[in-house]
């Protein structure tokens, strides 16, 4: 079981509140570009929140040439000191949930059991769940499918 933020895209209304809560809490400013969660538009008209679901495969960890990404209790964490901002992790992630911003890789490391993004979401499109491997795999599969595999 791993604590992770799991989106339910069909409920997402494309309001970007999660990105604002995330960036203000972690970067001290409201900036969707700096959030650990992104919101795209689905072909069906609803929003598409993209966030790391802490998938059990974590290809990002394997792709990192410096070992800057490590798994701690199932959560993939970034050691900013070792990150050389090469972007290998971004390319490796099937939904682009790791991004290089301001010279270092950033990703959702699940702030708490009640993180700002989940708290602010008006529709329950984001949940924080202590989830088994299958559930996180399924969540990733859905996001891959909805983004057309490209992130």
């Amino acid at each position: 079981m791993v604590l992770s933020v799991i989106p339910e895209p069909s409920r997402c209304v494309f309001c970007f509140e999660c990105t604002l809560a995330c960036s203000s809490s972690l970067e001290g400013e409201f900036s969707p570009a700096k959030a650990r969660i992104r919101v795209l538009e689905s072909r069906e008209g609803h929003g598409l929140p993209i966030v790391c679901v802490q998938c059990p495969e974590h290809p990002c960890v394997d792709a990192c040439p410096t070992g800057a990404l490590q798994v701690e209790v199932g959560i993939v964490k970034v050691d900013e000191g070792s990150c050389i901002a090469c972007g290998a992790c971004t390319s490796a992630c099937p939904i682009g949930a790791v991004r290089v911003i301001g010279g270092r890789a950033v990703k959702c490391q699940v702030c708490s059991e009640e993180p700002p993004c989940v708290k602010i979401c008006p529709t329950g499109a984001l949940k924080v769940v202590d989830a088994p491997d299958e559930e996180r795999e399924k969540a990733l599969g859905l996001l891959v499918e909805l983004t057309g595999g490209g992130g």
Partner: protein, 628 residues
């Protein structure tokens, strides 16, 4: 600076130059941003001899200090220019996702002057701006334009564009953001077209910092609780403004047959429930809004925004059409071509009434028979208007000018104030709306004053805001009493909220959850500029008064604050407000009184302008002989 980015992007299309300049902190404090900033700049940069479609007009896209934060409803855009439809102050406000990206791209506002020789678009990214060739975009509709620019600049680029109507200088052309959120009123899309500016595309990785994050967080949590707990949130979140169709029809406020009456016998067919529930594929929010009052509908292979209440009237009751799919399609068509559905619908309704009365004939229309409820005809007229083909060239002038061109008494059926077509409120059913239409600076409008408190009887809010002594009359939609007092306060609050820029229907004017104390505190925690409730109120009044002063310069007086006789002399023939008229004079007296304006003339006394720190404006008006 906190809240603000501290920069304004100045674009001169004649010289092909775009550069960022510092935002004057005094301007920010005295006019806040959004509406306030727009009205001060419009006053300073244009004058009585400015041709609205000439290069000397300005076009302003303004965000505000709260834009780009997570405050609910703070994603709104304020646009302004001198209006080609009214020749007065033109302003228009839209939702969507464009405005916050002005700030993320590094600016509080974009001010466009001049005129390009060739079609161009403006691309703004992270503090830089480029004027680019738009020859390949000219002639495309707004949806196509958006698609091309997103393909070219990336999916996260945000676009505001004009359609063919703006290119063809249709007097009520709109600026469309994100395909469906529209700054529609007062013909600002024609101003953009006159400048040969096809679109503005934005992308920014910047952010907005607030001065007191903890204070902001506390206010936000309380606001979230209030919004989620409001009894009005549930239906509003579900249906958005289309929810109004049935209740407004019951009270006789749903314009029918060119505003002849306010109840439509087939309203059930075009109710918000029918339209939204019948075709919805997704819920949708404007940027940073937990009300998420928008819906995405699907018809055939097309998906797009729901028609708002206003549009349901324009393409429904007001021209006697009861077909929800037709209304959805006409909304999309108007958005693609880029036209204000209120003005467009009002102009078509006028033509239909005049045709029925024999004042317009097939000779005027190029052989077309303008029969009420004829859907094919309406669709043709919409296209003909956007391209100014045949009789569409007359309609494209808007109802005031069109009726002057035709003459023969058709002016009597032109439902407008100051040249702007009347929106979907029958003032005979809700008196405060009659006053709002008559006095709004941009012409007939409900959202300059946003007097919603007598709509469904918000007695509690009235008691809290104004006091027991105004009940029951202020809450009674048929009573003209105290409506001037209410309209003054609601107009001030709307002006300040639209300067932040926050949506008026995200808990400020509807539902009435937040008030002056909240606004002053919000401004303070966001900007770090300590502002009291009394200063905030005074600032709001300053904004309203400079907007009025601009009108006064152009010759507006009490006589201009009028309504078509249909509302003041013809008692409603049937429906929920049967027998009612708008008692305008009585309300005007009270309104001017509450404003401290001269009751006989509607002019602003020097003392009032001085009190608001508008000495320069007082001097201008004195020079023109327009002080009372």
């Amino acid at each position: 600076m906190y809240g603000y980015t501290g920069k304004i992007l100045w674009v001169d299309l004649t010289r092909g130059k775009a550069e960022g300049k510092d935002l004057n902190p005094g301007l920010a404090r005295n006019y806040l941003g959004g509406m306030g900033l727009c009205m001060r700049l419009l006053y300073d940069l244009t004058d009585v001899d400015t041709d609205p479609l000439g290069p000397e007009n300005v076009l302003i896209f303004a965000a505000g200090p709260v834009t780009g934060t997570s405050w609910p409803g703070s994603g709104r855009l304020q646009v302004a220019a001198k209006s080609p439809l009214t020749g007065l102050a033109g302003y228009s406000n839209s939702g969507g996702h464009f405005s916050p990206h002005i700030k993320y791209a590094g600016f509080d506002a974009i001010v466009v002057v001049g005129r390009s020789e060739k079609p161009v678009y403006l691309f703004v990214e992270d503090g830089r701006a480029e004027i680019r060739d738009a020859s390949d975009l000219w002639g495309l509709d707004t949806w196509e334009t958006e698609d091309v620019l997103r393909e070219r600049h990336g999916e996260d680029v945000r676009v505001a564009a004009i359609g063919q109507a703006g290119e063809n200088l249709v007097k009520f052309a709109a600026i469309v953001t994100g395909k469906g959120r529209v700054a529609a009123r007062a013909g600002i899309g024609a101003v953009m077209g006159s400048k040969k500016l096809k679109a503005v595309a934005l992308r920014g990785e910047g952010g907005v910092k607030v001065a007191d994050p903890r204070g902001f967080e506390e206010m936000l949590e309380e606001a979230m609780r209030k919004i989620d707990g409001s009894p009005f949130s549930e239906t509003y979140r579900d249906l958005g403004t289309p929810l109004l169709v049935l209740p407004m029809n019951v009270i006789g406020r749903f314009p029918t047959k060119n505003h002849y009456m306010g109840s439509f016998e087939r309203a059930e067919e075009i109710s918000g429930e029918k339209i939204v529930w019948g075709y919805r594929v997704a819920k949708r929010a404007c940027f940073s809004c937990r009300f998420h009052c928008k819906n995405i509908l699907k018809l055939g292979d097309t998906i797009g925004d729901h028609p708002e209440y206003e549009t349901i009237c324009s393409f429904g009751s007001n021209i006697l059409i009861d077909d929800p799919e037709f209304i959805i399609r006409m909304n999309w068509l108007s958005n693609r071509l880029g036209m204000d559905t209120i003005s467009l619908g009002g102009t078509i309704a006028w033509a239909m009434e005049c045709y029925e009365r024999g004042l317009l004939t097939r000779e005027d229309t190029g052989g077309l028979e303008l029969k009420w409820g004829d859907r094919d005809l309406v669709e043709r007229l919409v296209r003909m208007t956007a391209f100014r083909e045949g009789f569409g060239d007359v309609l494209a002038e808007g109802v005031r000018r069109a009726s002057q061109i035709i003459g023969r008494g058709t002016e009597r059926y032109a439902m407008h104030v100051k040249g702007l077509e009347i929106p979907a409120q029958d003032g005979r059913a809700q008196k405060s709306m009659g006053l709002a239409h008559a006095t709004a600076a941009r012409g007939a409008d409900h959202l300059t004053h946003s007097t919603f408190l007598d709509e469904v009887g918000f007695e509690e809010a009235i008691r809290e805001r104004y006091g027991e002594q105004y009940l029951p009359e202020m809450a009674d939609r048929f009573s003209p009493k105290y409506k001037g007092i209410m309209a003054k306060d609601c107009e001030d609050l709307t002006a300040a909220v639209s300067s932040m820029v926050i949506c008026v229907t995200a808990g400020w004017l509807f539902p009435p959850l937040f008030y002056w104390e909240d606004l002053a505190r919000l401004y303070t925690v966001v900007t770090g500029i300590e502002v009291s409730v009394s200063e905030m109120k005074r600032t709001a009044e300053r904004i309203v008064n400079i907007r009025r002063a601009y009108l006064i310069k152009h010759g507006v007086t009490r006589a201009s604050d009028s309504l078509p006789e249909r509302f003041t002399k013809e008692p409603a023939p049937a429906g929920g407000c049967k027998g009612q008229i708008v008692e305008l004079d009585q309300m005007l007296d009270e309104y001017y009184e509450a404003r401290g304006w001269n009751v006989e003339t509607g002019l602003i006394p020097r003392g009032k302008l001085i009190e608001l720190g508008l000495e320069d404006v007082a001097d201008d008006l004195a020079r023109l002989g327009r002080l009372p």
